[in-house]
């Protein structure tokens, strides 16, 4: 089979470049000085027995972060970013993620705790590793790169050739070809991406093999790294011989299990090599890669793309390495690993030849300019070894007088960056903040998250076989469909709430002055507000806070309202402050007070300056990508100031609150203040009752309350409900301007998955 010809003839160029990607990244939790922590894996990450994203590898301190399989590397990297942000923000304050593959500041072996997994077999396996390799070697971390060819490509290729009759055998042959060629040429990737030039002396049981000031390209890929005994040789000639030889080593006791075979390529698709013969190899796992300490998540997107095309090249090449070639490749890898990272490699000619083939392939595939540029840059590194990652790492280590110090510095910077916009998931910043917050919690606790529609904020969450769909962070299967329909219709909302016995302000609409005035007796002595139906900056509104006593006053108010609109409303006026109750099921989880945009005087700064200072608050921004909005000094604010006798240059006295807006919306710079603990319990119960009357599982209820400390009474003077919202904002409760944060998204998850512990 000439794969290149088939791709060309059958126009499979695009399909060939598609596939599925997954990244697993190990790394050590460390203290501020870069030394490995002795603490347990944080409980906040939930249960490791099912966590799809945040696991431990060998040791309790060794995180393994896993992305879901993704159709593009861009997406895999987005997930890696999100999982990192969740992890970094969840770690104890004094813990960080070490950016180097080689551990630093290793504690005495007996202080290293093997990962405390539920499954005793998993623990026994680790105990075996301790005996065979010692704990230190197991603390080395790296990145595993998983790749699956697009199945439609494999199918098309199979159908286009004639030699192989079995589709499964064909697929196995194809993946084996990639594996073997990869093992033959893997040294090239090592040359570009290695980043473990040194390690602490105490890492070695029998003294360091490194001369003083010696650096190598990759300790991790050298005989001192995370490798099997050299006598363990496994055949890649065929899947049959692969299974035979692997089983031989396990049976002979040299390997405790097949998974102890640390090949830089693993054939994936079944737990046992033998089963692959039938099921077929489904994808390959490449385990060669050191952590790139300069990439916040251990590998850059560009490098990941290079690796992708390098893997494709392994399939594209005319020849297939045989077992001797594989062994030759492993030898070269060890040699290159021990080279001086600042010098040329012995095998640069071979490397350049392979990359020339790669460039030819890119031309044939009409690949993107982006990947062509990446390959060109790598090509140049054969001539300029000081441009390789490892050379740069060495320079940085020298500068920081040691990789532990450098690593600690990078680790702190990474954590700081990941926490800057602590309310968001950077990689999913095109989605709503509340959905980001829910995803944060789901990733932290280990629910499988799938984005069904990014623009539509539609998620699928999964725990075991249990799937739940969530839209906009809180619209779920727990709400009854009739609820939003009721809440969308204000007339129906009022009727339903009144039917259920809640205090609802009544309103009557009029389309002419005469009939409004005729109905005065309906409102006599009642506290009412008379307003045009479509209110516009408060024009035409009259409030009779203490009851409208007089017919003439009423008539005048009606007339004023009719100047602004063809239809007016006379509505019960509620005296008091508006609070937002966030109800979930049987509980009011949070109560919020929204205060109009304001600044507090200090007797020194002008209003303009005070606004600028207030706008510096980390929660304030454009309001869509931040929980709060910056105050704008626009016309409305200036008018508001003018009415109070101020200009933006006035210097208000100390502690005076200067109101900049009449409305309390967060979207116009208002403050959100948590009042959950201050609110009398009786109102919280009323809010729950209102939510239930609507059949809602999650509901935002707006109550007007004159005195939040007094128990509720059954009349409009004590409280009144003005609105119920079926898609309540959650961010303002999670990240209020003042008062305690209420992590309501986590409660949404607990409601959806009560079985999750």
């Amino acid at each position: 089979m000439n794969i290149q010809n088939i791709i060309k003839q059958h126009h499979l160029e695009l399909l060939f470049q598609q596939g599925l990607f997954g990244i697993e990244k190990e790394s050590q939790r460390v203290y501020a000085d870069g030394s490995i922590v002795t603490t347990d894996h944080p409980k906040a990450f939930g249960n490791r027995s099912f966590h799809p994203y945040i696991q431990t590898d060998f040791a309790e301190s060794q995180l393994e972060l896993v992305t879901p399989p993704s159709k593009t590397l861009e997406n895999a990297m987005r997930w890696l970013s999100a999982i990192h942000e969740v992890t970094l923000r969840t770690l104890p304050e004094d813990e960080y993620i070490f950016p180097f593959s080689m551990p630093a500041g290793l504690p005495p072996e007996n202080q290293i705790k093997v990962a405390q997994l539920d499954n005793p077999e998993d623990v026994a396996y680790r105990e075996h590793l301790v005996k065979s390799y010692g704990k230190y070697k197991q603390m080395v971390s790296g990145i595993h790169y998983n790749f699956q060819l697009e199945p439609a490509f494999v199918k098309a290729l199979f159908e286009a050739q004639t030699e192989q009759k079995s589709a499964v055998d064909f697929q196995n042959d194809l993946y084996l070809k990639i594996a073997k060629n990869f093992l033959r040429y893997q040294w090239i990737l090592l040359y570009f991406f290695s980043a473990t030039p040194t390690v602490d002396k105490n890492y070695f049981r029998n003294g360091s093999p490194l001369k003083p000031n010696q650096y190598v390209r990759s300790l991790r890929s050298s005989q001192f790294g995370y490798v099997n005994d050299p006598e363990i040789k496994v055949s890649f000639e065929s899947l049959q011989s692969y299974a035979d030889s692997l089983e031989h080593w396990v049976n002979s006791g040299k390997l405790i299990a097949e998974k102890e075979f640390y090949s830089n390529v693993r054939l994936r698709g079944a737990n046992k090599a033998r089963d692959l013969v039938k099921t077929g190899i489904q994808y390959l796992e490449f385990r060669l890669f050191d952590l790139n300490p300069f990439a916040p998540y251990g590998m850059t997107l560009e490098d990941a793309k290079f690796i992708h095309y390098f893997i494709l090249l392994m399939a594209w090449l005319d020849h297939t390495a045989d077992q001797d070639d594989v062994e030759l490749g492993k030898t070269r890898l060890a040699e290159v690993a021990w080279e001086d990272p600042l010098s040329s490699t012995t095998y640069s000619v071979e490397g350049e030849l392979v990359l020339l083939e790669m460039q030819k392939m890119l031309e044939a595939l009409q690949a993107s300019d982006e990947i062509k540029t990446i390959v060109k840059e790598k090509f140049a590194q054969f001539a300029n070894p000081r441009d390789t990652l490892c050379a740069n790492v060495v320079v940085a280590i020298e500068k920081f007088a040691g990789y532990q110090k450098l690593g600690a510095d990078i680790a702190k910077g990474n954590k700081k960056n990941a926490s800057e916009r602590f309310y968001a998931l950077s990689a999913f910043d095109n989605m709503e903040l509340s959905t980001q917050a829910l995803m944060f919690d789901a990733i932290q606790k280990g629910l499988k998250v799938e984005i069904l529609d990014e623009r539509d904020q539609f998620l699928s969450l999964q725990y075991g076989d249990h799937i739940e769909y969530v839209k906009n962070g809180n619209m779920t299967s727990h709400d009854r469909y009739i609820s939003p329909l009721i809440m969308e219709n204000k007339v129906v909302t009022k009727k339903v709430l009144a039917k259920a016995g809640f205090n609802v302000p009544q309103s009557v609409e009029f389309t002419d002055i005469e009939s409004a005035v005729k109905n005065f007796p309906l409102f006599e002595n009642r506290a009412v507000v008379i307003k045009p139906k479509s209110t516009n900056f408060g024009l035409g509104i009259t409030i009779f806070q203490y009851g409208v006593q007089n017919r003439d006053d009423f008539a005048k108010a009606v007339e004023i309202a009719f100047r602004e609109d063809k239809e007016i409303m006379v509505e019960d006026y509620l005296v008091g402050t508006e609070y937002r109750f966030f109800v979930l099921g049987d509980q009011t989880l949070a109560v919020l007070l929204r205060v109009p945009a304001n600044v507090v005087g200090d007797g020194v700064h002008s209003i303009k300056e005070l606004v600028a200072m207030k706008n510096d608050h980390p929660l304030r921004g454009d309001g869509s990508r931040t929980p709060l909005k910056k105050i704008v000094l626009g016309d409305i604010e200036k008018l508001q100031l003018k009415e109070q006798g101020w200009t933006i240059d006035s210097i208000p006295p100390r502690d005076l609150i200067v109101q900049l807006r009449a409305n309390s919306n967060i979207s116009t710079g208002g403050d959100s203040i948590d009042m959950t603990d201050q609110m009398h319990e009786s109102y919280k119960q009323i809010a729950v009752g209102i939510s239930k009357a609507m059949g809602a599982a999650v509901c935002g209820v707006d109550l007007i309350i004159p005195d939040l400390t007094k128990p509720a009474e059954p009349h409009l003077q004590s409280w009144g409900v003005i609105e119920a919202n079926f898609n309540p904002m959650m961010m303002m409760h999670i990240f209020p301007y003042a008062g305690q944060s209420r992590r309501v998204t986590l409660d949404v998850l607990k409601m959806l998955f009560p079985e999750m512990k």
Copy 2:
């Protein structure tokens, strides 16, 4: 207290004219000849122990139709109309509703069955009535008119006066004033509205008191009607004396219960007169009225309005009748009842004086021209007794040689009219047909229906304390909120259904020719349809029904599609017929085939004529007020004909189906054909599964199936789901063009109220 002054001074004119109205209308079920049926109350009306609308009065044959309390008489009449339509369409084919108060064709007494109520006390009471009055007298029917003054009016009146300190006493006095004045002047209403000039001879136990050819105004209100023994006198002087005297008659055994006191005014608000002293009279029930045989529901809206203002007048008058006046009024009533309906009444002067007062009141209240005109017309009837209702009834009876024959004729006409648009409720025709159908079923079975928002199709349904809200006929609390959100988003729908393992046609979108053609290998050998994203009359669509084999063919199809839109789709093509499955809970209740607009040739008529004939079908109309739409011969239809070589004047041969449309929508004249029984069970189960995967309680699922008789198989060649609809049309299942009707609205009610039997 001078009520007139207070109303004027406090501008209570509008409030005075407001109130709450309720109509109870008795009538006999009869056969086509007008004789009373001997059948049981139809089981289809559900359980009389709670039915709020359709009850039985004394006898099993005697319907009592009850409207809910309504704020306007217009609304009360709408309900009366709806309840009548439901009743008439539910009655057995050979049963009708007799339009006269006096029964005709009375069967022997022993064949009259007393109403079979669940409560033994109710049955015992009726047995007592049989003994005291005989069965025939109890078969007399009438209308009870319930009226409550606007409570805000009563409150305003109370607050404006100073004499009475107790609000309850004040309210009782006011209602007692109305009651007494009404009893004093009730003969006037009798003069206008009486309609029982005669009755069959056998109605009388001791021979008819009527001379041959004698007619009277109201047998029903005469001593031969439905009245107590004349010795039963009850005092209306005060609520106290009313309770005293009523209890006296009950204790003496002359009345079996207070309710046996057949006053033309009943004080309502408590079960016992004694309790009214504390609770206060809440409303009045006026029982004077004969059925108007010419009004389809026993009373016209105009007459109901006149009665309303007559009642208001009883409050408005300066004087309050005393007990002597009340007795005088009762005597006059009996006298006028026995007058010749074609002659003047003895008391026309008094009548004219009272109506003059009424006209003055209307002026003072600035009442509508409408009511002024009504009163004017009635006024004239004192001078023209032949214009009274009763005189007209007599003329009609003479014409038809008897009221039984006349009544039978009217009854048949009423039933025919009520059944003409059998799929609608005329009074609620501004609502969607599906909501009308649901209301029909709810009224029939006795769920309390409240319209929360007419334009928004929002209903509240109640059974006991159990309230359910319904929008658009099938959007309920049983659906999960996430369901419509999933179904609204086609991308998410596909993902959810694919995740759940259903056959979903996949589609890929492209924005340029090049990338579409590059992806050809994805579609090679698959049955696909290539189409512009926004399809327009099928332009630019290419279907590869047997798989796209050839890259060039694919490229050409892509190019054609791009001529019509900037974005194209390549979608799995499903071979087969589209069926709509109506799923409710665990069941597919109906399966429908929608056929494009068509006519079947007869070898005689032209296509134009065939269309006109088909459009005569009772289900066809404008499509919004009818279940099916008339076929229009527009440009698209003519083009469709042209392609087949026809014009609208062509005469197609016998049995040839001429297709007039390519699309099968009902809205463009398509036919709906029930296929529920023909469809293989396996597809019905698939539809249920799809609905469940969406979390829907009620769902319309569109499946493409090549052979509905073969069991479903798990691949797209056997079936595929193309859409799920969360607000599926119900009318097309209830009233299909062909095939069996499936009354799915009733299943919706059963789902909401499983406790209802």
